[in-house]
Symmetry: C2
Subunit: 333 residues, 2 copies
């Protein structure tokens, strides 16, 4: 039968991490915690796609610097983004001369890249891997919905694709935070067709992964200090809370979502919250991993959530599948 | 320093594989060897993107059947394709209820998915993984170049995106063919900007990976029965042969390329040959792995090659990076 949960025999450490964000993210509740930001969102590049790639480059550079590692010490990069053919990652990380594995997990890419990095280093294939991902509001909106210049009105269920990037160095040696377990998500499609309601499209995948995990490990939500989903926003957060409660799991005391908290609901009014690969990547790097290091959090579940739609699949009338990968991260072994 | 080569301690077996192709591929030199084909290229689906997804579904179904495995025996799928946001894989493989890791390696995805599957099963994280990939001429041409109905003339350097899919089951237990070593490729950009000359854009990546491998292992091309690149076609094949010769490596006796041989150069006149993720996947599944099983080939190098462009990166005037991942596959240990 299937090995649902990977229990890492030699749990890898996330030895360093860095976050790079845009202006709206910097104005948000975690503004002071990000490593770098650019008020103009352009990062000195002539196109938004290249701005996004540049954010990845800066994030990886900074993460390597913090770990005192050079490109020749990194065995592989696992990276991806939302842009067609993942060009932000391909072009942004081109100059490092590090073996490059491209991923497409939509907004779950941060969790996917951490999971595959952990798998690669925990068992001896590699020593140090980099997990890098990003999203950019301007490149994503024009690709998936409308160019910003069109000025289209966003419905209340719409989320704001975060202009954000996160890079993580995952190593076989280190002093934590440790990735102790992981579980890959199954694609789940509950028939949602509204590309302006990603939270509802992704929530079933998060629910599927969480229930599977709790059943297999015989644990409950409050066994963990915090359960963090990627970017379900207000819509998806509520759905996860409600459905999990109906399944007998009280998520209330420990549950949060990166899309829910990345912007200030009152002051910034980003409708249903934030989304994008970079949303969870930047918040993990800027806040949650630090809280683990400081001992504020000791044992968390991070569930990256992704919606596997394309502009064409929406135009062709297909519903939107979601996927959610889980990592259990601990401060001490 | 970097661990360039992964030497699998418990080399995983490719216990089964299946190929599904379109009409032109069936009319080509390996026509009788593919498992399934559809003369109409549509596989009963209403859109080309869904036709491509259906090819992946059929290929994986067949590969599982050959290995006498059911979806619940497969720990994870590693899959990807060329379509924006990899929707052919996401939608085509949705119904299997198997944990799903999406990849984007362009035409190198077959090698990338085999490499990550091998990594996952060789060290105990998983027991059985599925590596699945595809390309479809009609979905790829309209996305990257022109819709077929436009009837645009193709230059002699252009390759024909193969309508093809391949699925592989990689297991920790089995009797071969064994994946004994692997090496991830670095992105390489030599300034090629012509989206109708993918061979020239990808050849530098293949050369980079091959030279690195020969230097690190202190071997030469003729130490292997065959060296197979993914889809460089006539252009890229010639470049690899020439540059490798200048570096002191005589590839001539053992070198072939899936894009070079998938169509009949005389009878079919596909210009520079075949390309696409499915090109190498279908030929590995239909021919080369069988030749290993029969003992015709004993020790080969398979180098999946991918061009990491998008329609937008071309429109924005960027050159085309390539990437090439290497696998060493042996019939016996």
């Amino acid at each position: 039968m299937r090995k649902d949960i990977i229990k890492f025999k030699n749990p890898p450490s996330i030895v360093s991490y860095a976050s790079v964000v845009g202006n709206k993210e910097h104005e948000g509740p975690f503004g002071d915690k990000y490593d770098l930001y650019d008020e103009s969102d352009s990062f000195g590049m002539p196109t938004w796609e290249q701005s996004e790639g540049e954010m990845q480059r800066q994030a990886l550079n900074l993460a390597m610097k913090k770990a005192k590692l050079k490109p020749e010490n990194i065995d592989a990069i696992f990276a991806g983004d939302l842009i067609n053919q993942c060009t932000s990652s391909s072009y942004g990380l081109l100059d490092f001369d590090i073996p490059y594995f491209g991923l497409y997990g939509a907004c779950s890419t941060c969790a996917e890249s951490l999971l595959l990095s952990a798998m690669a280093v925990s068992e001896g294939s590699f020593e140090n891997c980099a997990a890098v991902t990003s999203s950019h509001n301007c490149s994503a909106e024009r690709q998936f919905r409308f160019p910003l210049e069109y000025g289209s009105q966003r419905p209340p269920t719409a989320q704001w694709t975060a202009t954000a990037s996160g890079a993580f160095i995952v190593s076989s040696k280190g002093k934590g935070p440790y990735i102790v377990e992981a579980m890959g998500g199954m694609s789940t499609d509950m028939g949602i067709k509204d590309a302006n309601n990603m939270g509802a499209a992704m929530a079933p995948a998060a629910i599927s992964t969480l229930s599977r995990y709790f059943i297999k490990t015989n644990t409950k939500p409050t066994d963990y200090d915090k359960i963090i989903t990627g970017d379900l926003g207000f819509e998806g957060y509520g759905i996860v809370m409600d459905i999990m409660e109906k399944q007998g799991y009280d998520m209330r005391p420990v549950y949060t979502d990166c899309g829910l908290v990345i912007y200030d609901r009152e002051a910034q009014d980003m409708h249903s919250g934030g989304s994008g690969c970079g949303c969870s990547a930047a918040l993990m790097a800027a806040n949650f991993l630090d809280e683990i290091k400081k001992g504020i959090l000791k044992d968390i579940l991070f569930i990256g959530t992704g919606a596997l739609l394309s502009q064409m699949s929406v135009q062709q009338g297909l519903s939107i599948p979601g996927v959610a990968h889980l990592l259990r991260i601990k401060g001490e072994l």
